[in-house]
Symmetry: C2
Subunit: 677 residues, 2 copies
């Protein structure tokens, strides 16, 4: 190790220590242990600190996101739009250096991490996207996005099931562009990993089909780290796990113990550490000039690589104008012109169709015209109807099952891994719009990843079929009750539950147009009629009136499969002398964004409103005065029999509508849409 590199590494370490010290909060242990590897990896990575979206950059994912003081220090030293002043604001409200790396707040952060296991799984998604993009657009003379995905992960990430799922799939997919460093420091919050984590990680990853490299001394042996990267790059048909043995809190008086994990170092410890590292113990946030120069020179080399790429890309565009235009369009984040013209439209005379089938029709129509749409399913392809006829699997060519330009991903029974991988694919850039299929009920298995999609603004789409008790015989273990409420309560998720073909098209229109909001599209197993009055345009408002009366006795508001039920109930009520309006709300989030007067026109003052949805009524009081739903678990039986049992029939709805009308008779009824603030 050259003296300047030694100094550089200690600079990274001490910037992290000073950041945590300034905040009196944070995690100094991992940065102290990982600084050498971070230095070597970042030295070797291709990127442009001033163009963080350059598509051919190498990516770095800090899966142990609590070590973000390390990442922030790197971003400062490598010249990203982050300064020492930002480090001084570490973990303070409004700073660019939040307590975990947030992709929206910190320039140069690839994915938001912190919830353990997500980062490494995102990295698998990044690696899949890189492979798919390259296989689609590369030419012998120019690789459009030749890059590697690096990730650091700790013991915690390895214990989480989501990383197991994603890592198993990464091995199957032979993702040679993925290089992960396991920070084997033998410490977690509960103390020694001996208390709960004694498995043979290396053997496990070998069983997944990963290439394994061991670096015995990650604290000081830079050459071994460098060699590991070189060797990892050579193995192109396997992801690599580098077992990096480090000392948590390296250099601290408490090194090797969990007390350096999650709290600022003691003042005298910092003094001895700085002294030991040859820094002035009085000085904070010091960056020696030679370190600045070292990284500046290193970045200059990186920029040469980028300049080469730019030259190559210009030539590529000239030689392959159509492909070049497509790549450029995707890099610009623009969808193909008129893509939405391909969305199917329906009239009431069209046959009843299950919305899962309508979803398949949409995918069949739009996949050929929108190359950035790729997707898959967690082993429920024939049930989710997510694979369009003739599409190719994304598979290693050696398997004979597909190739890397394939657009259909076989996720296996791995919902959480899928969710996290979907986020990684979205994070790659190139306008990827990727979807994943499972039963609505099992999106919950992936709740950790779905939440991060919402927080990170990843425009991913969950094709969530079998959306209610209507799925029938599989019974309560498979019938969602709370699922829609869960995700409707999460900020920034569009939770669509389309009622027919036009609403299904509207759901996809919203999902594919989206640049910052994940979508969950809840779809039926059972057939639904095409509604009178629906259209892509009105459904795109998130909520609209299907049956309008001047002075209704009641308004029935519903979603998905219950909208046609509400229509039937309205007809029945008419024979009983009641005027019942009907409103469809396929997506709360979209509806809530409409102007107040529009929303009030849909759910006006003056008439009581009854909501109907065959699941938890939780949250519906926002739009209604009375709620008919299912605040218990479902039942195993034939779908129609279950609907009848729980009285989700025109009679059952009408009866409750009449009760509601009677209850509110003589009372002044205000729209629940009007609120004081």
């Amino acid at each position: 190790m050259s003296p300047v590199e030694q100094k550089a590494i200690n600079t990274i370490r001490l910037l992290a220590v000073d950041s945590v010290d300034a905040a009196n909060s944070g995690h100094p242990g991992a940065p102290l242990g990982l600084a050498p590897a971070a230095h070597v990896v970042w030295k070797n990575m291709n990127f442009d600190p001033k163009d963080t979206k350059w598509i051919a950059r190498d990516r770095f994912v800090l899966s142990n996101g609590h070590a973000c003081a390390l990442l922030y220090s790197l971003l400062v030293l490598f010249g990203f739009d982050l300064t020492v002043e930002d480090l001084k604001q570490f973990r303070q409200l409004g700073s660019k250096t939040p307590g975990h790396p947030e992709v929206l707040d910190v320039p140069g952060v690839e994915v938001t991490t912190g919830p353990l296991g997500q980062g490494i799984s995102n990295a698998v998604g990044l690696a899949i996207a890189q492979k798919q993009f390259s296989a689609t657009y590369d030419k012998p003379e120019f690789k459009v996005a030749d890059s590697f995905i690096y990730s650091f992960l700790g013991d915690g990430c390895l214990m989480e099931g989501v990383s197991s799922e994603a890592s198993s799939l990464a091995g199957h997919l032979q993702l040679g562009n993925l290089i992960a460093f396991w920070d084997d420091n033998k410490i977690s919050i509960d103390g020694s990993t001996e208390v709960a984590f004694t498995e043979d990680v290396v053997a496990r990853y070998r069983a997944y089909g990963w290439h394994i490299i061991e670096v015995a001394d990650g604290n000081t042996d830079l050459a071994a780290i460098e060699n590991a990267i070189v060797e990892a790059k050579k193995v192109t048909d396997k992801p690599t796990l580098i077992r990096l043995t480090t000392t948590i809190g390296f250099g601290s008086l408490a090194q090797g113990t969990h007390s350096v994990h999650g709290a600022a170092l003691k003042k005298d410890d910092i003094v001895q550490l700085k002294t030991k590292f040859g820094f002035n113990p009085e000085e904070k946030f010091a960056i020696p000039t030679e370190v600045t120069e070292f990284y500046k020179a290193n970045v200059a080399e990186k920029l040469k690589v980028k300049a080469e790429w730019e030259k190559g890309f210009a030539a590529y565009k000239q030689k392959y104008p159509e492909l070049g235009e497509e790549v450029q369009r995707r890099l610009d984040g623009k969808l193909p012109k008129n893509w939405a013209d391909h969305l199917p439209r329906y009239t009431p005379s069209d046959s009843p169709v299950a919305t899962r089938k309508l979803s398949e029709i949409v995918l069949t129509k739009i996949l050929p015209v929108v190359p950035e749409i790729i997707g898959g399913s967690a082993d429920l392809t024939p049930s989710n109807l997510t694979k369009t006829v003739g599409s190719t699997d994304f598979q290693p060519p050696s398997t004979g099952l597909g190739d890397y330009s394939g657009r259909y991903i076989r996720y296996g029974v791995r919902e959480h891994g899928m969710g996290s991988i979907m986020n990684g694919i979205a994070a790659f850039g190139a306008n990827y719009k990727n979807y994943g299929g499972t039963f609505l009920n099992f999106v919950s298995y992936a709740a950790g990843a779905v939440r991060l999609a919402a927080l990170s603004h990843h425009p991913v789409t969950w094709v969530a079929t079998h959306d209610s008790i209507g799925l029938g015989e599989d019974g309560p273990t498979h019938q969602p009750i709370e699922t829609l409420a869960h995700f409707r309560a999460t900020p920034n998720i569009s939770v669509w539950r389309p009622a027919d073909g036009n609403e299904t098209s509207a759901a996809y229109y919203s999902a594919i147009q989206s640049t910052s909001t994940p979508h969950i599209i809840a779809l039926t197993r059972q057939n639904l009629p095409q509604l009178e009055g629906s259209s892509i345009e009105v459904a795109s408002l998130g909520g609209y009136t299907l049956i309008k009366h001047d002075k209704p006795d009641i308004i029935i508001v519903a979603s998905g499969s219950e909208v046609s039920l509400a229509v039937d109930a309205s007809k029945r009520l008419e024979t009983e002398g009641f005027k019942a309006g009907v409103v469809s709300i396929p997506d709360f989030l979209t509806f809530d964004k409409q102007p107040l007067d529009y929303r009030l026109s849909v759910l006006p003052d003056g008439a009581p409103i009854l909501s109907v949805e065959v699941m938890s009524t939780f949250g519906w009081s926002k739009y209604s005065h009375a709620q008919f739903g299912l605040n218990r678990f479902g039942a195993s039986g034939k779908g129609p029999a279950i609907y009848k049992y729980f009285e989700f029939t025109p009679e059952g709805v009408s009866e409750r509508a009449v009760k509601t009308i009677e209850f509110y008779k003589g009372k002044t009824v205000y729209s629940p849409i009007s609120t004081p603030f």
Copy 2:
């Protein structure tokens, strides 16, 4: 294989085939392949079909729950309270043979399975409970609950992360009482497992520390299966995975393909299958007399074992009266008398304390008097404060870190595995009341298991600390927004968010008393004052009035850390001339169970109601006219700074209260508690 055993196995197979055929729905493939192993395992298990709660029974968990036609056939043949008539009602509404095994509906089912990966993880919990119970009560001359836990699992279960988490822990804990059969049939719904699941499962489980046995021909080699069980039982310091190579749909014309997985066999296929197996193709649900006799004789042997146990237990109770009484009390499902007297009580003069700390105080008080309480944390022990001083770890004695009578489980960073294991511990019986700690936000990682706790009526408790933006610097990745709404929307979960010490005691009172409802107790990181007017008794109503006015201008309803904020706002409003009542609702579920007139006395007609909670307002419109919450993700910063930023201050609340008062001025205001039906 003796001819009668061959016939018995084919009887199991054909009962399953006929069940699926009658329903025209279900999964015949796995039963056909697994019948031989099922026959051998059940032949070897100890149980009493008429006393399904016998504590010393061996347990069987069908982790691939979709294969339940197999399980139901076994239950019929071994004389449980299930008949051929029930099989004829397979998957029909109201039957005792639902589409997946439901513990509440089917006598003899140990845990509800279907959501993949859960069953094997429950089995780990059962194995932990068995070890803990035995280590606590066994004497050299009598083992109170000497038993094995058997589980069948398929490729799907192995792909799920939850099983990875639980299996890694099972290896660490050296659970020699756990014997799992991997149905290695190479088929999943998407077709061959080659498309997504090519890892080396055996090597992975060896890496976890499991003992591996391979049975090359699970279709016919009964001796190998029998030997595998004998060998597995001999290895007492490792769980065993038996790789059982089978043919899915064995005997069917479509055997070995995914088409036999999830749909009834064709009629002519059934005819050839019955003919091939020597059965009358015209006859349905046939049970040859010699098969009935064979199983009857086998059960008679089992009952002898049970009679021995009963004799032994009677002698044990005589020799160890205190211990015997304790075991008997637990088997009767009764808590120790007066245990609740140990719950701490507080007065307003007591210091402000974080509710996570108050939770620790409760645990410290009640653990010594309630031996059936055991618990742990997903690697956040020092943050969740879930380990009481001096308690022993549940660890293999060979580790030197604890022993099997230990009551504190080190789960590692494995929330989903923990949740599923908690369910298994509860399912063991013996009145176990087990808890698991993590941050509230990461209970979502375990959503799949939490849902099953609610569905299966497992009285488990989640100690969910760091319950809001109040946790501060860790930022949005760690700050719950939607979490309470998610679980409040789930049927049968008590979601407590206590506001002070008395409410925390009430939450635990509810949790420990519970026999059929899981609890999530959301606890703060930050200190909260002891409230004037709170008590264990009033809090146990789920909601109550803290500040009462005869004719209030407004009522502020809040939970947890916002209750004291509401009290402060009320005081502030008083100086502005407004009378603001304050209501605390620590648990929606409990409050909803109170009589209507009590609920109306808390939230009466006549005054507008404003809810205050620093998270998603979703669902609060059920109790309030206006909602002050956080319908966006949080922020990284100091807790108090974030509260201020989002205006969760007495000023911020008062301002919204005044707006609410003004908005409703002159309007007739009805309580949201009154509903038409």
